[in-house]
């Protein structure tokens, strides 16, 4: 007797999100149920497909934004209010957006020789160029693939 099929316990099993009792039940069930073993493989494939998506980041994104902003939050005082008034959200957003608008031509040079990462980046840029050609209001955001999580 292997009991009811495992259903959503299988995804939680893959993610290490089961309690000890649940995990024991899953392992025992899988030993005797080919249907659940097949489903586990399918779920693992879908999970792996998403987890293997490349990690993307606009080039220099974090560095540029952090350069535009105060390094630490400031206490709420009259002086701080004055400082904040000089860095209103709209001004900050405009500055950050400007920092992200990069010359597409420089991207390949900056990342040349990075193999597969360059291909992903170039493809993204090609696609983005198409978008911009359709909608000139879009800003040109430089995309690179980075390694690791």
């Amino acid at each position: 007797m292997i009991g009811a099929h495992l259903g959503e316990l299988l995804s939680a099993y893959l993610d290490g999100e089961l309690t000890g009792d649940e995990e024991e039940r899953v392992v025992l069930h899988l030993d005797g149920c080919g249907l659940c073993r097949d489903e586990l493989l399918e779920l693992d494939a879908a999970r792996g497909a998403v987890r293997s998506l490349p990690v993307l980041e606009p080039a220099g994104f974090v560095d540029k934004i952090t350069r535009e902003m105060p390094a630490v939050p400031v206490p709420i005082t009259a002086a701080a209010d004055r400082r904040r008034s000089r860095m209103r959200p709209t001004a900050w957003a405009a500055a950050a957006a400007a920092a992200l608008v990069l010359a597409v031509g420089g991207v390949g040079m900056a990342r040349s020789g990075s193999g597969g990462a360059t291909i992903e980046m170039e493809e993204m840029l090609d696609r983005h160029a198409v978008r911009v050609s359709v909608d000139p209001g879009l800003s040109a955001v430089q995309i690179v693939q980075v390694v690791g999580p």
Binding site: A12, V50, S52, T66, A93, G116, D126, R127, H128, L138
Partner: protein
């Protein structure tokens, strides 16, 4: 994921989480412009929020802000998340000469991204927070303000739908 007593600086948050925030938005929307806009908006909200932040589950706080900012952006634009551009062989073949296996990898990524965008939002969000951002079920529950059991169910059903779409 940590529960820190110390309040991080805005700069630390940007460096530690900026890329994940960008990827969260990109995988949910399929649009690099939306992703960049979202990341900027989130970091702006974080900067403001840190002034009054009470130490606790920082990741829960951060991803709640991120999720709400994304939903606000979608509502503001009053349009559905943008599907990726249709397969464009010209775009791929115009890239510098590429090994077949690299192109195959890119195609797989496109297929997966396309399938993700076909999932109903709640399922897509749960899958992305789990498999792209790397949050635990408990952290996803805190971010989305739903029970952990619902998180488990959404991730499972989302993956089953993905499997069907990917064939």
């Amino acid at each position: 994921m940590s529960t820190d007593d110390a309040v991080p600086s805005w700069e630390e948050v940007a460096r530690r989480h900026g890329r994940k925030i960008y990827n969260f938005a990109y995988r949910l929307s399929g649009n690099p412009d939306d992703a960049a806009d979202l990341a900027q908006e989130v970091l702006l909200r974080v900067r403001r929020g840190l002034l009054t932040y009470t130490p606790g589950s920082f990741d829960g706080w951060l991803w709640r802000i991120t999720r709400n900012a994304f939903l606000d952006m979608v509502r503001r634009r009053q349009r559905r998340p943008t599907a990726p551009l249709p397969d464009d062989d010209r775009a791929v073949s115009s890239a510098s000469p590429s090994p077949d296996e690299v192109l195959a990898t890119i195609r797989l990524s496109e297929d997966t991204q396309s399938a993700l965008l076909k999932l109903p939002y709640d399922f897509r969000e749960a899958v992305v927070l789990c498999d792209v951002v790397g949050l635990t079920y408990e952290e996803i529950a805190a971010a989305a303000e739903i029970p952990v059991g619902t998180v488990r169910s959404r991730i499972h059903r989302g993956r089953k739908m993905l499997k069907e779409l990917l064939g």
